[in-house]
Amino acid sequence: MNQWAFVVGAYALTFFATGLISALSWRAMRVSEGRARQVADRS
């Protein structure tokens, strides 16, 4: 059994999931804060 296949699989999974949650959280923050600014400017 090739040990590196398991190692690479585990790292790939971790980095993919970490990247995904980072990107989603970043985008949610940018969108919400942008809209909050817009709403504040309008009134």
Binding site: V7, A10, T18, S22, W26, A28, M29, V39, A40
Partner: protein, 240 residues
């Protein structure tokens, strides 16, 4: 404590801190992973699969630390009515659940070549799976309270967060109390039974993942706070 209860003052600190935490955490964990993959020697028994340690342990730590954070936030919410605590609890939930899942999955991938099985119902694995389900329950409760219009979690969700904290010491002690397939704790107060040549990248990835987690939580808190602001403004406009 109440000095930071004011969202405006919190944001003053959180805005610059978010990027710093996130990028320094990412840098550290990439360096740590690189060292753990290419610089450290293979284990005498397991060979190269031991390298999964450098991501499996931080993921386990974050899964458990995340729930501890939820429990502390719940305590502050219930006792001191701290307005940011409810927001913090909700912000921790999803990344905490994700890292618990990463811990379970990397553990499974590690178990196949070392133990000869993907999954066994031993004390450590079962209690960690219970933690994952607790997260799912908490997320559902937090989601329901958010739909009712409050920015944070409801008192019911906070109580759930406190009660679920019982599982954290059980996970920690599971390999000591019960015969388990998972090995006992390597790093104790008395020292480490992981040789230093293998141990040092773990410090980097542990710190890196923790800082990154902090950055993600701050992002999510800022998103919730901004969302609250919009809701409040909309309600005021609707009333005229």
């Amino acid at each position: 404590m109440h000095r930071f209860a004011n969202p405006a003052r919190f944001l003053q600190i959180a805005r610059p801190l978010t990027g710093w935490l996130f990028w320094s955490g990412l840098l550290l964990l990439l360096i740590g992973s690189g060292c753990g993959l290419f610089l450290t020697p293979a284990d005498y028994l397991q060979g190269d699969t031991v390298r999964i340690l450098y991501i499996h342990v931080p993921a386990a730590w974050l899964g458990m630390a995340g729930w501890s954070g939820i429990a502390i936030a719940a305590l502050m919410q219930l006792v001191w009515r701290h307005p940011l605590a409810a927001v913090a609890g909700r912000a921790i939930a999803v990344p905490g659940a994700l890292f618990t899942a990463i811990c379970l999955l990397t553990g499974s991938i590690w178990g196949r070549p070392t133990w000869g099985t993907w999954w066994e119902w031993d004390g450590r694995m079962t209690s960690m799976l219970v933690l994952f389900f607790l997260y799912l329950g908490y997320i559902a409760l937090a989601h329901a309270s958010a739909r009712q219009g409050s920015g944070g979690v409801s008192p019911v969700a906070a109580i759930f967060g406190l009660v679920g904290a019982v599982n954290i010491p059980i996970i920690n002690r599971s390999v000591v109390w019960w015969n388990s397939l998972h090995q006992g704790p390597s790093i104790t107060l008395r020292g480490s039974s992981i040789d230093t040549t293998l141990l040092w990248p773990l410090g980097l990835t542990l710190l890196g993942f923790t800082l990154l987690f902090g950055g993600i939580v701050l992002m999510r808190m800022r998103a919730i706070l901004a969302h609250n602001k919009i809701e409040a403004r909309m309600q005021r406009l609707a009333r005229g």
